[in-house]
Structure formats: C-alpha cells, structure tokens
C-alpha cells in the first residue's frame, strides 16, 4: 500500500517536473476569434512542419476571450476579428489579414441580395417574415453570434449601428455553427466570415455588390474587418517568430488560397 502511494507521488512529481524543467509553457498559445481559428491553425500546421521543434496551440473562445487571455497571460497571442475597443488599445495589435463579412442564407432561398437597411431590419426584428422580401410566407429564423464574438462586433458596428439585434434571434458561439444551422434551415439568415463560406450556404450581395474577395479588393464590398494578432506588450521571441511567418509571403499566400485577403494588398 505504501509502495503504491509512493509510486503515485513519484509519477505525479515526474509529470510536474517534466513540465517545469523546460519552462512552464514552452509552446505558443494562440487563442481567440473563431473566425481566425481555422486559419491560425493552418498557419500553425505549416509553421510546425517547417520548424519541427516549435509547438503552436490554437484555441477558440471568441475575439473578446482572446483579448482577455492576452491581458491575463493565458495566451501568448490573442486573436481578434474586429477593431479593438478604446479600453483594449493598451495591447500591441498586428493586422495579419483582412476578411469580408458575409450575410448568408440557405442555398434554396430565392433571395440573392439585400440592402443594408433590409439586413438591419431583419436582424432587428422589424421585418419578421420572408414574404416582405420575396414570395414565401415563412418566418425568418435569424441567427446571430454571442456577444463576445468579433464577427458579431464587426456586424454590429458595420450593419446594425445603434440598433440591437432582436432578442428572439438564435445565438451560436462560432462561425462554423452558424454555417451549419443556416445550411440546414431554408428559412434562416446569418452572418459569417467570408472566408468560411462554402457550397453549403449562399452569400447574399449587399446593395447590389456581390460578396467576393475581388469586390473587397476594389473596395466595393464594404463589410470588411481586420484579423488582428494582439499581444500584451511587445511579442515574446516565440510569438514574434510565428507572427513573422504569418506575415511572410508564404504565410500570406496560404490564406489567399483559403479565401482571406492578405494584408499587403489594400
């Protein structure tokens, strides 16, 4: 019995020491926006293939969570898919990409485009049925993101302005989930990162302008937000290495293939 207890303590001690001896955290933690997460994960994958002795861990949680984690030290790099608020400006921010915000509906929805005002009215609850826009008499199932989402923050700022998203809207906590719901519900409408739009949903054109990277590059499609990497103070050495990779030509080409807008081209 005593031997068993002793062995257990040894195991735990070894485990703890193995972590401590190489520094309490030798891997880079990148946490925050769910919009940025798949791209950050891609970057991390290629980065780790290139430098096999470095480890990068990517988490979600939402843009505000990333900012919080950056402040508290839980993350080395926080990721954020909206502009920083005034009280967050103490962080060092680096733009790593730009992303369009797409308003999406089910592929079978006959609607192909809306005006900014119509979108605002739908999300605020003023327009409640599809029959005010097209011919179908169905209640609009509005899907929005949680409060801490950068995507939602950007949407609120660029589309809603001072108007609140209405209370009865369905709330989900990541881009992927919103996409899943819209892909499954013919009467729904939502908004996600343009880079995440695929054949399961349809992106609406805004005031006649289609939601494409091309239109963003010529400044025609207006719903664009920055993807930010934030650090508390200047980035640590490991963080800087990763950020340099992300901003390099290789890193920026990677995301161009995935549908984001590289940071160089303005």
């Amino acid at each position: 019995m005593k031997k068993v207890v002793f062995a257990c303590f040894c195991l735990v001690a070894i485990g703890l020491l193995s972590g401590c001896s190489k520094g309490a955290r030798k891997e880079l933690i990148v946490a925050g926006s769910t919009s940025i997460q798949p791209f950050a994960d891609r970057w991390a994958e290629i980065y780790m293939k290139k430098y096999p002795d470095r480890v990068v861990n990517v988490q979600g949680g939402g843009s505000s969570a990333g900012i919080q984690a950056s402040f508290s030290g839980a993350a080395d790099i926080g990721t954020c898919s909206r502009e920083l608020k005034p009280e967050e400006k103490g962080l060092t921010e680096i733009v790593v990409a730009r992303d369009g915000l797409a308003v999406i509906v089910h592929p079978t929805n006959p609607v192909t485009g809306l005006s900014l005002e119509q979108i605002r009215d739908i999300f605020s609850g003023k327009i409640q049925s599809w029959k005010e826009i097209s011919n179908r008499d169905k209640t609009i199932d509005v899907v929005t993101r949680e409060e801490g989402s950068g995507t939602r923050g950007a949407f609120q700022e660029m589309v809603m302005g001072k108007v609140r998203v209405f209370k009865g809207a369905i709330v989900e906590d990541s881009n992927g989930t919103v996409r899943e719901i819209v892909a499954g519900d013919p009467d729904s409408i939502g908004y996600i990162s343009l880079g995440l739009v695929d054949e399961r949903v349809k992106a609406l054109s805004l005031d006649g302008v289609a939601a494409t990277e091309a239109n963003i590059l010529i400044n025609q499609y207006e719903l664009v937000r920055p993807f930010l990497f934030v650090t508390c103070g200047p980035p640590s050495r490991e963080a800087k290495n990763f950020i340099d990779f992300v901003l390099s030509e290789e890193g920026q080409n990677l995301i161009k293939m995935e549908g984001l807008i590289p940071v160089q081209s303005r």
């Binding site: 019995m1 005593k2 207890v5 257990c8 195991l11 735990v12 485990g15 703890l16 193995s18 972590g19 190489k22 309490a24 955290r25 030798k26 891997e27 933690i29 946490a31 997460q37 798949p38 994960d41 891609r42 994958e45 780790m48 480890v55 861990n57 990517v58 988490q59 979600g60 508290s72 030290g73 839980a74 990541s174 881009n175 992927g176 989930t177 996409r179 899943e180 892909a183 399961r200």
Partner: protein
C-alpha cells in the same frame, strides 16, 4: 368509464411494457445510429494519426492521448482522497456530527452541475493560479467532480468486508492501520476499482468542465501544462462546426465503445464482488 379491473390491468400492462420498450429502443437506436455511421470511419489509421486541418482529415490520436492523460491524472488525484475519506468514515470513527458533515459535503459536491465546475476551474486554475489551459487544470477539475463517486463506492466496498476479517486481524496482533492496509483494502479492492472505473467512464464523456479548463489544442500534449483536447471535446467541435461529419461520427463511435467497455467491465466487477461476499 369503469373498466373491469382485469381489463384495466391488461391495458396498463401493455402501456407499461410500451414504456420500457421505448426506453430500451431509444438507447439501442442511439448507439446503433452512431456506430453505423461511425465505425466505417474507425480504422487503425484513424486511431493512430493526428488530426489534420482542424480535424477535417487525419485521425484522433492526440485526443485519445489527451483523454487518457486527463482521466488518469484525475483518478490519481481523486483516489487517495476518496479512499482515504472512505477509510476514515468506516474504520476510524462512529456516526457523529463530523461524519454527517463529511457526507453532506460529498453529496452536495455530487450534485453540482459540470458547468459550475468548469467556471470554478477556469477562474481558479486557468486564471488565478496561472496554470493556463492545461491538462493540470482539467484533471484537477475532473478530480473534484469524481471525488464523491469514489467516496461512495469505496465506502460501500469497505463496509461489505465481513467483520470477521477485521477481528481475525486484530486477534493476530495487528495495529488498526495494518488491518486496514493489509486485510480490508485488499478485500475491498474490486469494489473500489469498480468505483474508479465508473469515474473513468464519467470523465471520458465530460465536456463542459473540460473545455474551459483543458482547452482545445489539437497537438499531442507535451507536458502537464500543455493544453489538450479530449475525444468528447473534439467530437463536440467537429459536430457543431460541421468541420467533418464523418470524423465526428468516428470520434463518437470510439467514445461510445470506450464507455460501453467501461460499463461492461464495471458490471462484471460488481457481479464478482457481490458474489464474493453474499
């Protein structure tokens, strides 16, 4: 309408049978549904390869490691505490105010929802103690969650060891501690192990407390302070975000099989233990 009692019974009998049938059928449907869609995806490559492209491709190896690490560490922490508590309650004291307080504490702990544990673990371990999202944070939180189960099952196991064992030990001149460690515990071991395995089953499926404390990093964890993703968390993320439905089903299938095995082992161990002492 006053039915003849015999007719009433026939109708009720059928209704009750129907309730039971529905319950059992639902269970089978869930398991069969998951396994049918998930097993084709599970092969040795799925189990030994790491997730690629956020889990869209590749396997679930790192999540298996994460699950094992979290579960084992949680058990390592909770078992001494739980078994020690059980020994104290059965061997070293009588039923009095102290034991009532201890039992009350354990039962209340058992009823706390997992999200509150997650909240607590997130604020205390991840933030205040600066462990960050790590196996350590997750395992400690899980350990607190499974502690009541281990206390309860260990206590029952120790209680069912016949008094004769103890008396013989004393008559041979042993101290109390010697009696506990050399006679009672070995005899109660199957029951104690059952409780541990039961807790393993619970930890494997736990998501709410884990996702906020151990995080959701995809790589194989390198130390206790690494963040790690468990199979349950991986399944949750894959399914929610529609990253890869087939991989989601595969992960769920592995999860279900693991839990099925845990339950079957528990069942047989308990049968063996009951048969031994009845």
């Amino acid at each position: 309408m006053h039915l003849n009692p015999r007719h009433e019974q026939k109708v009720i009998h059928f209704a009750l049978f129907f309730c039971t049938l529905v319950t059992v059928v639902i269970l089978f449907l869930i398991i069969v549904f998951i396994l049918r869609k998930g097993l084709p995806v599970v092969n040795s490559k799925f189990l030994t390869a790491n997730p690629v492209d956020m889990g869209r491709a590749g396997g679930i190896f790192s999540t298996i490691i994460g699950t094992l690490a979290l579960t084992l560490l949680a058990i390592l922490v909770a078992t001494p505490l739980g078994v020690g508590t059980a020994i104290f309650l059965t061997e070293y004291t009588f039923e009095n105010k102290i034991t009532r307080i201890i039992r009350f504490g354990a039962e209340c702990l058992a009823g706390i929802p997992s999200i509150i544990f997650g909240l607590f673990g997130f604020i205390l371990f991840v933030n205040k103690l600066k462990f960050g999202w790590s196996i350590l944070s997750g395992a400690l939180t899980l350990a607190f969650m499974i502690l009541p189960t281990i206390i309860r099952t260990s206590e029952e196991a120790i209680k069912s060891v016949p008094a004769a064992y103890r008396q013989v030990s004393f008559s041979l001149g042993s101290t109390k501690w010697q009696m506990v460690t050399r006679v009672v515990l070995p005899a109660a071991l199957p029951g104690i192990v059952t409780g541990i395995i039961l807790s393993m089953g619970r930890s494997i499926g736990e998501t709410a407390a884990v996702i906020f404390t151990a995080g959701s990093a995809l790589r194989i964890p390198t130390s206790l302070f690494s963040s790690s993703r468990t199979m349950a968390v991986h399944f949750y993320i894959l399914a929610r975000e529609g990253i890869s439905m087939s991989n989601a089903y595969g992960t769920a299938a592995v999860l279900i099989i693991a839990i099925l095995m845990v339950n079957i082992i528990t069942y047989y161990l308990m049968e063996k233990f009951i048969r031994k002492y009845s």
